[in-house]
Assembly symmetry: C2
Homo-oligomer: 221 residues x 2
């Protein structure tokens, strides 16, 4: 079962590696990282890189996972990448995204009229592509599944395992990777984080990544 | 702040990439993957590899994280690797492990008389090294922190962020990676998984990985 995880220079490592760890444990899994040009692709944090196959070499994957990253905006008008997504989606069983990867699904025209989610920093930008921003961890709509920021790809992949195989198989993978989360704090969403922490993190994101896509589109017009 | 994540051929990808995603977001972080010989190191699932620096080139890291994997047993008598761990531990602020990585800390003599944890499949083996197997997600003992299977490295790294920086900083990282876990099932530990699922997964592990280290040591004598 060929699964293509789409990454690109500046992707966020856990966006891609969380789903990889889960999906590579499915029966007859063949999980491959794909990128626009193939070769070794560097993440948005130094010293992290993954080997990839060029998009053109992977046709008709059963599952597509689009990773997010700090550079996603650069690819929102990349017709080669968007065309590959549209073509792949015609025959996938599931087309999915983690984090800002959903903006690429949107730019490819695949989220028109659908509920979808993303990292909180770009959630509103989904409306630019005709989607309904939905602040949930994992949003399933028929064959399209989007998930929230970075770490949500693990939860999304377990939801995929439910559907591709069975709930029992998904539970088996959860046990194999001992996914019994116990973070020391309960600050993993904008609603749950202390206000002061949320304000600092939002300011750091604004400074580091600049305006959201929705803001840039608004500024253009 | 130099952090060395130790991996080796056959490491489990998320053991290493979970902590990387968290720890690379700490102030002045310099997180590097290290391996016995350096170069590109392949994980225990196909098509996953990370660039590494040879152990010999990384001296006096501030933090060490030892990843687990399906091949950990092969390195339990590797004196070069164990010697590096012992030397590094003399000056680290924290020496830590994810999953079966704790067996390497044990083999290096660093867990003697201490509570420690590991993946459930090797938890009992910690006793071989004089440690007290402790079935908890993250076990902190002074400068040594061990964590449970695979995905637990994310929780462990957030505990580290608490201590290396502050609880607020740790919360900020949790929000940045939107770590608000919502797996579709509650089957992430031997206690929580349905009995039938646990029995199947244990049988698959036994067949795939063979006896635990404790069992091998018992069989030898």
């Amino acid at each position: 079962m060929r699964t293509a995880i789409l990454i690109y220079e500046g992707f966020t490592s856990l966006d891609a590696t969380g789903p990889f760890e889960v999906l590579s444990r499915l029966p007859e899994a063949d999980v491959v990282f794909v990128s626009p040009d193939g070769g070794t692709v560097v993440a948005d944090q130094p010293r992290f890189a993954l080997p990839t196959v060029p998009l053109a070499e992977v046709t008709a994957p059963v599952v597509v996972v689009v990773a997010g990253g700090s550079t996603t905006q650069r690819f929102l008008e990349d017709e080669e990448l968007l065309g590959w997504l549209r073509a792949a989606h015609e025959t996938t069983r599931f087309t999915t995204s983690v984090c800002t990867g959903s903006l690429l699904l949107g730019a490819a025209g695949l989220l028109q009229g659908l509920p979808a989610t993303s990292h909180w920093c770009e959630l509103d930008s989904l409306a630019v592509f005709g989607a309904t921003p939905t602040s949930e961890r994992v949003v399933v709509h028929d064959r399209i599944i989007t998930s929230a920021g970075v770490s949500s790809g693990i939860d999304m992949a377990l939801v995929l395992a439910d559907r591709l195989e069975s709930p029992e198989y998904s539970q088996g993978i959860q046990l194999a990777i001992e996914y019994d989360p116990q973070p020391p704090h309960d600050a993993g969403s904008m609603e749950k984080a202390p206000e002061a922490v949320a304000a600092v993190v939002r300011a750091v994101f604004d400074e580091h990544y600049g305006p959201s896509w929705a803001q840039r589109v608004a500024d253009r017009s």
